[in-house]
Symmetry: C2
Subunit: 208 residues, 2 copies
């Protein structure tokens, strides 16, 4: 059963070593448009390339001539959304995303914003060099080395926030737009985060 | 009257040329903590350095020994918030921010999130190489070259969104968390954006 997917987006990918490791754990590798160029440079053959294909280089197209290509010309969603829609159609439950940040700042914010349409159907983790980001779905227990820096960024108002096992704990707190919680520290692993209402993104900074 | 401030944050600063140009137009230059290191490398003397000063190098401290230093040890807000609080106390109405993005991804998201506490009191623009970002305050007319890419990222639900002068216009639309509008194109300058309710960040990508 295919259950774990890796999406390679067209931002700045993490190191070759990290992407290859994630690819080796994935049942399905999806290149979101120009992410295929990074896959080629890293020697990773995606099972499918999805997007309007305006960012895939001629060399990449030639090298991956035998990969499936799903050309979606819709202008009203992003290449990451096209890739996630495909994974929803395949009932994939665990998705790791690399290359979602860097290069264009609007795409960085856009890529980490669009996931809220998918979080009820799949578990999503963004991975970069030295960091991970994931949406907090109601309650979450997370393993991390004691001393690790974690940050919380609300996307819209959040309430019923309880943090346990962190240096600055919270109990049933609220955060509105403009309030953030950066540079909290893991005191106990697993630590736990509960958000009863709202969309909260958790960053785990392994190398902060 | 001091009316225009430049804040230099501790992320990746834009080019020396751009930061020096912005500094030359500013009445007041504030280095947010480690942003002072970038100011020194660019040959810009900040009027004041604000933060808990844990990121200012020894060399920077020595070179800027004559600059004012405001050491704020509060742990519950960021260096950018400390700098913005200072500018509020000085009734500054126009603030340009550089170095807010890059390096730590949690700070990138955090820095562009905290401004919503300040937008009723000052006009804020983030500037990077080839891009600008600014909160849309109810109605906004923006001059930009025809063909420029613009993107809209809502921070929480937004309603009453009207876009005029862009390739993909909107009339009294709503966007919820997870919906974004990347890669719209300027058809007519000035174009206009109205958001009746909610927090919307506008990105102008001069080099997309």
């Amino acid at each position: 059963m295919t259950n774990r997917a890796l999406i390679i987006c067209n931002g700045e990918p993490p190191t070759r070593r990290l992407v290859r490791k994630l690819a080796s754990h994935a049942d399905l590798i999806v290149a979101a448009d120009g992410g295929a160029n990074a896959a080629r440079l890293y020697g990773i053959r995606p099972h499918i390339i999805i997007g309007d294909l305006d960012s895939v280089s001629a060399t990449t197209k030639r090298v991956f001539a035998s990969s499936s290509i799903l050309r979606v010309r819709r202008q009203d969603n992003t290449d990451l959304e096209k890739a996630l829609d495909y994974l929803v159609s395949k009932s994939i439950k665990n998705v790791c995303i690399v290359g979602a940040t860097g290069r264009r700042i609007d795409f960085t914010f856009g890529n980490l914003s669009v996931i809220w349409n998918y979080t009820s159907r799949m578990r999503i983790t963004f991975v970069g060099d030295g960091w991970k980001a994931m949406p907090v779905e109601s309650g979450k227990e997370v393993r991390a080395k004691v001393g690790t820096t974690v940050s919380l960024i609300p996307f819209g108002p959040c309430s019923g926030i309880t943090l346990k096992g962190l240096r600055y704990p919270l109990t049933n707190a609220t955060m509105k737009v403009g309030e953030i919680g950066v540079s909290n520290i893991v005191k106990r692993s697993p630590f736990s985060i509960t958000v009863r209402r709202g969309n909260m993104l958790l960053f785990i900074m392994d190398r902060a």
